[in-house]
């Protein structure tokens, strides 16, 4: 009989090992899935995990990896602060859109003036936009006790409508021959987030790295980070310790909103280039997975963001090269999260095998 026995304290070793094991188990289960679909499993796994990094066209895919990972990491870092404190911002996608709109709005307003001040202004506007959008669920929760999960999620759909109206109206390119979408910011030197488009570097990647470092320092060295962790682990103890819940809620929601807004702003001024109806591609939701995959730990999130970006790019390659259905790739990504969460049990419990006793 297999029994689970609670460990006296969570195992540090297993909390590092389980993500690695989860990836391996996902490869095995995914391989079986691909084999059942009549594909060569080894080749499929190699296409997803190996080719983007070390294959023939890796020089093209490696920068792509950072382009995909940067917004995921930036958003997930912000979300992880709230998740650690038990504050569930599910609406990062909306904050991402509003941040992009505010940032792009500033850039478009200055067009075609060239100045080094424009881009910093856009960064501030993008962050503030995301922050303000996240303050709506924050203030409603603090003031009226509403559920931040529902409010932030529903505001995503509001933001999408706002995006559509901007792309079709206010921000539409006057020289765009009537097509929806704004001017292309990546062609506007003062407003683009690209550092070097040829090698695929943009400021969002720098921001993601800075966010990882700051979040690490905050959580491990600062009393505010301690209060965040304390509130998540023992809310009553946090109150006893002197943490003001309302202030913490506003801080966590505000920070995650601002980071999501920044991610949107860097995206709209770089890889995406313009405000268009289908500008958002679900980074705000995928970042939730990234945050948990990375154990809500800044360094873990960095690695998880890169891994997630890898499965996206590798998955696209597998679709086009091997003809795997898109659904199979999505199942594969889902399995990754599933196995990670399932194996989590090993950090808190140990498995004992024992013969069934008879009295």
């Amino acid at each position: 009989m297999i029994r689970l026995e609670r460990r006296p304290q969570p195992s540090r070793l297993w909390s590092y090992l389980t993500p690695v094991i989860a990836v391996i188990v996902t490869m095995i289960a995914g391989g079986l899935l691909f084999a059942a679909l009549g594909k060569n499993p080894v080749e499929a796994i190699r296409t997803i995990f190996w080719n983007p990094l070390f294959g023939e066209f890796a020089f093209y895919y490696r920068p792509q990896l950072l382009v995909k990972a940067a917004p995921l990491v930036l958003i997930a870092i912000g979300l992880s602060l709230g998740f650690r404190a038990g504050i569930w911002n599910i609406g990062a996608e909306g904050q991402y859109i509003v941040g992009a709109l505010c940032g792009a709005g500033v850039g478009l307003a200055f067009h075609p003036t060239e100045s080094v001040l424009i881009f910093p202004l856009m960064v501030i506007a993008g962050g503030l936009g995301g922050w303000a959008w996240a303050m709506i669920p924050g203030l409603l929760k603090v003031r009226f006790g509403t559920n931040e999960i529902l409010v932030s999620l529903m505001l995503v759909y509001v933001a999408e409508q706002l995006l559509a109206s901007m792309a079709l109206g206010l921000m539409k390119n006057p020289e765009g021959h009537g097509f929806p979408g704004s001017r292309n910011l990546s062609d506007y030197a003062s407003a683009t987030s690209w550092i070097d488009q040829d090698i695929g570097l943009h400021w969002g990647m720098a921001a993601a790295f800075i966010a990882v470092i700051l979040a690490y320092v905050l959580l491990n060295r600062h009393i505010l980070g301690f209060n965040i962790r304390l509130s998540g682990e023992a809310p009553r103890a946090a109150k006893f310790s002197g943490v003001a819940p309302a202030r913490l809620i506003l801080f966590c929601l505000g920070t995650s909103g601002a980071l999501a807004g920044l991610a949107g702003m860097f995206e709209v001024a770089g890889p995406s280039g313009q405000v268009s109806i289908d500008f958002n591609v679900g980074y705000g939701f995928t970042a939730i997975i990234v945050a948990f995959l990375g154990r809500l730990h800044p360094v873990g999130i960095l690695l998880a963001g890169l891994l997630m970006a890898l499965t996206y790019i590798g998955g696209e390659m597998a679709q086009s090269n091997l003809g795997l259905p898109a659904a199979a790739i999505q199942v594969f990504q889902g399995m990754l999260l599933f196995f990670l969460l399932a194996l989590d049990v090993l950090t808190h419990f140990r498995i004992r095998l024992s013969a069934r006793r008879t009295a």
């Binding site: 304290q9 060295r221 301690f226 962790r229 009553r236 310790s241 002197g242 004992r352």
Partner: protein, 514 residues
């Protein structure tokens, strides 16, 4: 007394890392009230769970009236004639008494018949109870009656009672004892689990004492002194806390007209409390659980904010200040619930040291945590209060109750408070740790700290406090010097509604006059 009802021979039950019961043998005679005595963790619960069929022994046998007894589950145990009243009630607040009783029955009779039987049993055994009252409105003592009646309806031969008096006032205890004696006279044996020695001496015919899972002795309680039983229980001589005489200091904590609505709907409203605590004095506040103890602690720790002038420390109004501002002014607190309130279970001891020590121990500078200093503070607590743990890296929940309580109390004491508020400082703590904690509180008072000790353990309050008051439904009785009090008076202060009302009116008259 005739013959043996239940014979227990060599019962052993091991859990990973601990032998809960090691070769325990004893007999429960027919028509006997048998005490099972031991500290927390001595193995009492495991033993009765085996009798009640909740846990299977690894080895050993039980014999029920000369027949082998191996209950596979509680249903089998009940069928054989074992009833059990648990320490924590399993009742639904929203249902009435009869409905709650029906839920525990295999084939409940129609509600009207059941109600009649409940009335019948309750009158026979002196347990007044209306079958149609909602359980949520009942006092702790009345809820216990529901549990007892639920057992009695099955006509048990052996009734197991786990710490039944921990929620009762002295008067309610007397009523319960009458009932138990009556049951014994009618042929029911009772296995009575407790660590309250005087009760056992007053009630029980025989006592079995467990220590660390072993049966360390049996005795006839009425012929044995409480001290001897305590020493068998602890396995050594017991240190009685000593106090040194001291002069009255200045008033440090002054609570005037403290009223507070509870944060949660099942809490108790505090109603116009008045008291003062002087430097070097211990004020003990007794009362049955749920009469405002948690709310009072929250009001004093700063978790709940009150009217500004309701609480003063050295003349400064602090009612409107949060926990950290109060700590800065020297008023510290240690809540009852160790895990999750006083300490974060999954955080290590240095993080838990930071939890309340950040302000007074200057563990942060410009918001950044000085972790080496926090670890030093944790180590200081661990060594000063003899906390048995491998080190400050251990998670709080890995510590035993006594060790974590020593850590929690020690953490506040080492911050050198002017006022210390503790709630249930020795709840669920083994006797030697409890003695250490009481001694530490007395020493702290001797150094000039004003201490407010909220507790449901009357013996503890009588032992360490200078003055005593009782909380009842969020009201505070008159506060009187402990040396003048008898246990009957204490009981009246705790639960006697008339005495309370008189005291209350008296108080208001004084106010009106002032």
């Amino acid at each position: 007394m005739t013959g043996t009802l239940l014979r227990i021979e060599g019962l052993t039950k091991a859990y990973p890392g601990v032998v809960a019961n090691d070769d325990v043998s004893f007999d429960i005679a027919e028509k006997e009230i048998h005490a099972l005595l031991g500290e927390n963790g001595a193995g009492k619960s495991t033993l009765v769970k085996m009798i009640y069929g909740l846990v299977k022994p690894d080895s050993g046998t039980m014999t029920w009236r000369a027949e082998p007894f191996t209950p596979a589950d509680p249903r089998a145990a009940r069928a054989a004639g074992v009833g059990m009243v648990f320490q924590h009630f399993s009742l639904f607040n929203a249902l009435n008494v009869a409905e709650n009783v029906a839920l525990g029955m295999e084939n409940p009779p129609p509600m009207r018949d059941l109600a009649a039987r409940i009335r019948d049993v309750s009158e026979t055994y002196g347990l007044p109870l209306d079958p149609f009252r909602t359980v949520g409105d009942l006092s702790a003592g009345e809820r216990q009656r529901v549990e007892i009646i639920r057992c009695l309806l099955q006509d048990p031969k052996l009734l197991i009672m786990d710490e039944p008096t921990s929620v009762l006032t002295p008067q309610e205890v007397e009523i319960l004892f009458e009932t138990l004696r009556k049951l014994r006279a009618e042929g029911t044996s009772i296995l009575y689990i407790s660590h309250k020695l005087e009760e056992i001496r007053a009630l029980c015919d025989a006592a079995t004492i467990l220590r660390l899972g072993k049966n360390v002795g049996t005795c006839v309680p009425s012929d044995t002194t409480a001290r001897d039983m305590a020493e068998m229980m602890v396995g050594g001589t017991l240190q009685t806390p000593t106090r040194t005489a001291r002069d009255d200091g200045d008033v440090v904590l002054d609570v005037t007209g403290l009223s507070l609505k509870p944060a949660n709907p099942f809490g108790t409203t505090l109603k116009n409390l008045h008291f003062t605590v002087r430097a070097g004095e211990i004020l003990g506040l007794g009362g049955v659980a749920g009469n405002g103890q948690d709310e009072l602690l929250a009001a004093l720790s700063g978790e709940a904010l009150t009217e500004k002038n309701a609480i003063k420390v050295r003349g400064e109004s602090i009612g409107h200040l949060g926990p950290n501002a109060r700590r800065a002014r020297g008023i510290l607190a240690a809540p009852e619930e160790r895990l999750g309130h006083a300490a974060a279970p999954d955080m290590d001891l240095s993080e838990n040291a930071l939890l309340t020590g950040a302000i007074r121990k200057s563990l942060t500078s410009r918001g950044f945590v000085n972790w080496p200093a926090a670890r030093d503070f944790a180590d200081e607590i661990i060594s000063a209060f003899d906390v048995r743990t491998p080190g400050h890296h251990v998670a709080a929940r890995a510590l035993s109750g006594g060790n974590l309580q020593k850590f929690v109390i020690g953490r506040e004491i080492l911050q050198d408070p002017d006022v210390l508020v503790v709630n249930q400082p020795t709840w669920g703590v083994d006797a030697s740790a409890a003695a250490d904690i009481r001694q530490a509180l007395l020493d702290l008072a001797a150094r000039g700290t004003a201490i407010l000790c909220i507790s449901q353990d009357l013996d503890e309050l009588m032992e360490i406090s200078d003055r005593f008051g009782a909380l009842n439904e969020g009201r505070l009785s008159d506060i009187r010097p402990v040396s003048e009090l008898s246990i009957e008076e204490v009981g009246l202060m705790m639960g006697g509604a008339h005495g309370m009302e008189v005291a209350h009116i008296h108080e208001e008259e004084q106010e009106a006059g002032a």
